[in-house]
């Protein structure tokens, strides 16, 4: 029997049906001796699955074996329980298994724990009462039992991490012991101590420390230790490293650990082993949102992976790119994705990828990156034609909604629609091409709605095409409904058309009732042109439809009929009852059937029919409209050519602000040119291939992270240095070509053309304050780590500038207002100072903005920022009148406590809402301040700061991925010049990289 069973298992594995033997397997487990039992249990575990009915027959055997005195029998029973056990029979064995937790043999305890783990998976509420025993298992003296209990804890913590925070300490201690090699040598694997346990613990810690600073702090040490210990060059150590990195990025961040983890990721990515490379990419994908600069460091590797022969690597790379998509690199990324899409065959991949592309293009309403209409439509066409039939239905719906609702700019919308119409017409021109049904549906809708944009007298041409499609057998009936809806819409615009005639003739005798209905509707509508026009207005797909659900317009008709003796309307159920009572005598029909038939015949309501013919005149379209009106909110505003409104402001603001620096630093740049040239030589010597890759890289990683960290090929210092300098040279020397530059230039030429900035400032003034500052403080840690590398150069730069305007610090006059005639040259140092102040402020407490005093022309408001050792008071002076202010005096009493170093009014106040602002920072001893509240003590080195709102807006840069960065203005300026400018000889592609820096979002800091 035993032999037979083994053979049966083998047959089953080979693919033959062995179901006749299942019952014998159970019998064998039940009745056989120990040897046969073992095989029987094995056969059961292989043959049956959890929900198999025969499994119930096994329960009794299991219970018997669990009570056996023979260890081996108990083991076998526990093994089978942990593999398959019917959920409803758990109570039968649960107490027995609980007892086994106290068993003297560790193997039994271990298996019991795993059996309970299984129960927890299939019926968590049944094992709730023994959670306390799990804790005992966690503290078991046997490592195996402890390791088994980790599975349960991992699962439970995953479901509810807050309930197990108290165990963090224990897990950390266990991990420390494991890492420290305190476990028996048996558990070593290739001289690495218990890697499985380590990894399980790391995962648990990652879950526990998520968003929880206090818990995370407990584990920093041990994580550091694990990172350090895992040095060996073996797969297992890499597995641990990977898990460590994952954990470090999951828990509350700590900069040192992040740094080390980033290094580890580098090791993975740069490894020649393909498996490690894959994991490196995976890790990058995971951390990319937190730290986009990491991707910049490895961009060349990523580019190589993009062309990797292994499709899996390619796919992971695309996943990574998907996460870093922004306005600058969208074309390249989407192109890469489409390439991959065309190559792949597997449906699952296609669905996934199509979803992602569409997500970038359409669904991602927060930021839409599509650069222009033609590209957008063409890409969508490609997406539809490849993945049309398998894609998620949301995608075409969203696409059509987007076309219908458009963006903020009406002419843009019309162009987009026009382009869509044109491109679809050309697509339909191609003979013998089959488009996916969904694509045809989208086409027919667009043509029906927006064909009028072509300004042709009659839609004859497009009607012919639609007619051809309607006659095509390969088109599904659902699509045909869309097509005929489009025809109906077009007919309302056409005066008369033979094709429509033919079409009506053709389809009024169609076998498809739905089509016949449509054809009849069309026919009747054509007889009443006025009605048709009002029913199918042009370009009204976004308007809400008012549906009179009570059908009040029929009231008159009903009243008339009633007066003429018609029977009053009875509700359906009433009719049903009447009918049943009539038929009570003898009912031959089954009840269910009579229900439906009587319902149909008894339908007297005139409303139903007339409504049907009117409204369903164009059912497909109606459906569309309704969904449109339902989902209207929240889309229009977000989806715009320029992206978010604040973002747009940011761009302009940055550019203007960035401008003044080069003037100041021309001298510096001359010195730097030598360096630049050298760097350029290096670049030139690079092979052509390399260059191509760089181009790709630059177009891909555009706009990522903070600008100066852009490195190519890992030559961090020299290359980034080069980028830093070159642009400035160019900016000051040559005219600008990009729009961004022309903007800065225009500002340059007249320092007073700042109307839009003024508007912006007003806005900013209103909603500045807590919200933004809070945001900054949240990110301060991140910023700190990033700005570390920047600091030296920042200081250098600002020092230089300071020397050029020494009055800034030397002026100690108490009310020293020094109106400066030309703001432009002085703005740069000002902003740099101001921003360095602001950088500090972002991390600290601050009060709300309070208006201090005001009159009809000027209002002064202030808020305070507390720092560790000093207090900053930021004043903002705004001009409420439309008049130009030549100067302003701000007197602060008691005056002897303040030193006001300099103040310059804005020279520009043409706009009615010109705003001046003055930021004063006074550094006092905060503790003194708190004690006396009188600001008695002034530090000798009182800093002062001024912000000229109107000319050099103080702004906050944000990289496009949404991490606000309280960046220093000085740095920002510098970046700007790095990013915007470029050598004329520089290839066009590379230029994109720099332009990327401009897409920063600005927020007001004051």
């Amino acid at each position: 029997m035993k032999e037979c069973m083994v053979r049966l298992i083998y047959c089953e594995m080979l693919g033959y049906d062995a179901s006749f033997g299942y019952i014998h397997a159970i019998k064998l487990a039940q009745q056989g001796n120990l040897l046969e039992k073992r095989v029987g249990y094995l056969a059961v575990s292989l043959f049956l699955h959890e929900n198999h009915e025969l499994l119930l027959l096994l329960v009794n055997t299991v219970v018997k074996d669990l009570q056996s005195t023979n260890l081996v029998e108990v083991c076998m029973a526990l093994t089978i329980v942990s593999q398959i056990f019917p959920r409803e029979m758990i109570p039968a064995v649960l107490p027995l298994i609980e007892d086994k937790l106290q068993h003297s043999k560790e193997i039994i305890r271990r298996k019991a724990v795993l059996a309970l783990y299984k129960f927890h998976l299939i019926a968590p509420n049944q094992v709730q009462h023994i959670h306390i025993k799990f804790r005992k298992a966690l503290c078991d003296r046997d490592v195996g039992v402890m390791a088994a209990s980790l599975h349960i804890y991992f699962r439970m913590i995953k479901e509810n991490s807050s309930g197990y925070k108290d165990l963090t300490g224990s897990f950390v201690t266990i991990l420390k012991q494991v890492v420290g090699g305190k476990l028996p040598v048996d558990f070593n694997y290739h001289s690495v101590p218990a890697p499985w346990i380590q990894i399980q613990l790391l995962r648990i810690l990652g879950l526990l420390g998520k968003d929880d600073q206090r818990t995370s702090e407990l584990m920093y040490d041990v994580l550091d230790e694990s990172l350090r210990r895992a040095e060996l060059n073996h797969n297992v150590t890499y597995a641990i490293l990977f898990e460590c990195v994952h954990t470090v990025y999951s828990i509350y961040p700590k900069s040192e650990l992040l740094e080390k983890a980033a290094k580890c990721i580098g090791k993975f990515v740069l490894s020649p082993k393909i498996n490690l490379k894959y994991l490196g990419l995976k890790a990058l994908t995971y951390v990319i949102q937190q730290d986009p600069t990491l991707a910049l460091q490895h961009q060349m590797t990523i580019i190589e992976c993009l062309d990797h022969p292994d499709p899996i690597i390619k796919r992971e790379t695309l996943e990574l790119l998907y996460r870093i998509t922004n306005a600058q690199n969208i074309t390249v990324i989407v192109q890469k994705m489409l390439e991959y899409l065309h190559q792949s065959k597997e449906e699952y991949i296609i669905v996934n990828l199509v979803g992602k592309i569409a997500d970038i293009l359409v669904l991602n309403t927060v930021d839409t990156y599509a650069p222009d209409n033609a590209w957008f439509i063409q890409t969508m066409n490609a997406v539809f034609s490849v993945g049309g039939d398998v894609m998620h239905p949301d995608i075409p719906n969203n696409f059509m909604r987007l076309l219908a609702e458009g963006f903020d700019d009406e002419t843009e919308d019309q162009q987009l629609r026009l382009y869509a119409v044109q491109s679809y017409l050309t697509l339909l021109d191609v003979e013998n091409v089959f488009y996916p049904q969904k694509f045809l549906q989208v086409m027919s809708w667009v043509l029906g709605e927006y064909y009028y944009l072509l300004d042709k007298d009659t839609p004859e041409e497009v009607l012919t095409k639609l007619y051809k499609l309607l006659m095509n057998d390969s088109v599904s009936s659902e699509t045909k409904a869309w097509l005929i809806a489009a025809v109906t819409k077009l007919t309302s615009q056409a005066h008369s058309s033979n094709i429509v005639e033919r079409l009506i003739q053709e389809f009024t005798i169609s076998l498809d009732t739905c089509m016949r209905q449509h054809a009849f509707e069309l026919k009747h509508l054509r007889e009443n042109v006025e009605l048709m026009k009002s029913l199918l207005p042009v370009d009204k797909s976004c308007e809400d439809m008012v549906v009179d659900a009570s059908l009040s317009f029929l009231d008159g008709f009903v009243a008339e009929e009633l007066s003429q003796g018609a029977a009053p309307y009875k509700p359906h159920h009433q009719r049903q009852e009447e009918k049943l009572s009539q038929e009570k005598v003898l009912n031959f029909e089954p009840y269910g059937l009579s229900f439906s038939s009587s319902g149909f015949t008894g339908r007297q309501s005139p409303a139903g029919i007339s409504l049907g013919s009117d409204i369903s005149g164009n059912s497909a379209e109606t459906g569309m409209k309704e969904t449109n009106s339902l989902k209207l909110e929240g889309i229009k505003k977000l989806w715009g050519k320029e992206g978010y409104l604040p973002k747009k402001e940011g761009k302009t603001g940055d550019e203007t602000e960035a401008l003044p620096v080069p003037q100041e630093s021309i001298i510096m740049e001359n010195v730097d040119q030598a360096v630049t040239k050298k760097d350029q030589c290096q670049v030139l010597t690079q092979s052509k291939e390399e260059k191509e890759k760089q181009l790709l890289a630059s177009s891909l990683f555009v706009g990522l992270g903070s600008e100066s960290t852009i490195n190519l090929l890992g030559k961090a210092d020299t290359v980034s240095h080069k980028f830093r300098r070159k642009p400035k040279v160019k900016e000051t020397k040559s005219g600008e070509t990009t729009s961004a530059h022309s903007m800065t230039c225009s500002y340059f030429s007249s320092s007073s053309n700042a109307t839009y900035e003024d508007d912006y400032y007003l806005d900013a003034l209103q909603d500045r304050g807590d919200k933004e500052l809070n945001k900054f403080s949240l990110n301060s840690e991140l910023l700190d780590s990033e700005s570390l590398t920047e600091l030296p150069s920042v200081e250098k730069l600002s020092n230089c500038k300071l020397s050029s305007s020494p009055s800034l610090f030397t002026d100690n006059n108490m009310e020293g207002f020094h109106p400066s005639q030309s703001t432009a040259p002085s703005v740069a140092p000002e902003t740099s100072l101001a921003s360095s102040l602001l950088e500090e402020t972002s991390e600290h407490m601050h009060s709300e903005l309070v208006e201090v005093c005001h009159n009809e022309t000027i209002s002064v408001s202030s808020y305070k920022i507390w720092k560790d050792d000093c207090l900053f008071i930021v004043w903002s002076v705004s001009n409420k009148s439309g008049l130009e202010l030549k100067s302003a005096n701000l007197e602060i009493a008691p005056a002897e406590n303040f030193k006001l170093l300099r103040y310059e009014p804005a020279s520009s106040s043409h706009s009615p809402a010109c705003v001046l602002s003055l930021a004063l920072s006074l550094s006092c001893q905060i503790n003194k301040y708190i004690k006396s509240l009188k600001k008695k003590k002034d530090q000798p080195g009182t800093k002062k700061n001024k912000q000229n709102r109107a000319s050099g807006l103080k702004m906050e840069l944000k990289p496009p991925h949404g991490h606000p960065q309280a960046d220093s203005g000085c740095r920002r300026c510098r970046h700007h010049h790095q990013e915007e400018g470029h050598d004329p000889e520089e290839p066009e592609q590379l230029r994109k990289l720099f332009i990327g820096g401009l897409s920063f979002e600005t927020t007001d800091i004051l």
Partner: protein
Amino acid sequence: MQFMLLFSRQGKLRLQKWYVPLSDKEKKKITRELVQTVLARKPKMCSFLEWRDLKIVYKRYASLYFCCAIEDQDNELITLEIIHRYVELLDKYFGSVCELDIIFNFEKAYFILDEFLLGGEVQETSKKNVLKAIEQADLLQENSPSIVLNYCR
């Protein structure tokens, strides 16, 4: 872990273990597809595969492919080591294992697997302990039950 498959270079299934309940039809479909995909891959390619929403980790030992399906958030490298550890166990048990050992003693391969992995999780990470458990149970094969009872005590 969702399941584990062993198959030869010719695409013949040698061992299968499912840790998730699936119907026979599905199992067969998955096996067929996976065997095809894995066999089509070149030796220098990466040992991980994304397949549907699962990650497939596979490794080739001589003419046998070991193939595990894990969830997305699981650690691929350690799964590779699980496979390796299993091979080590087989090797130790059979004494330089070959495909034929597994074909003729596949039930033993299953027993070893059950001692190492239970319900899709690693049960025992110590090689010694696993082998001890197997030996203990194996003594049944050679001895009468009464002796085994004595041994176990």
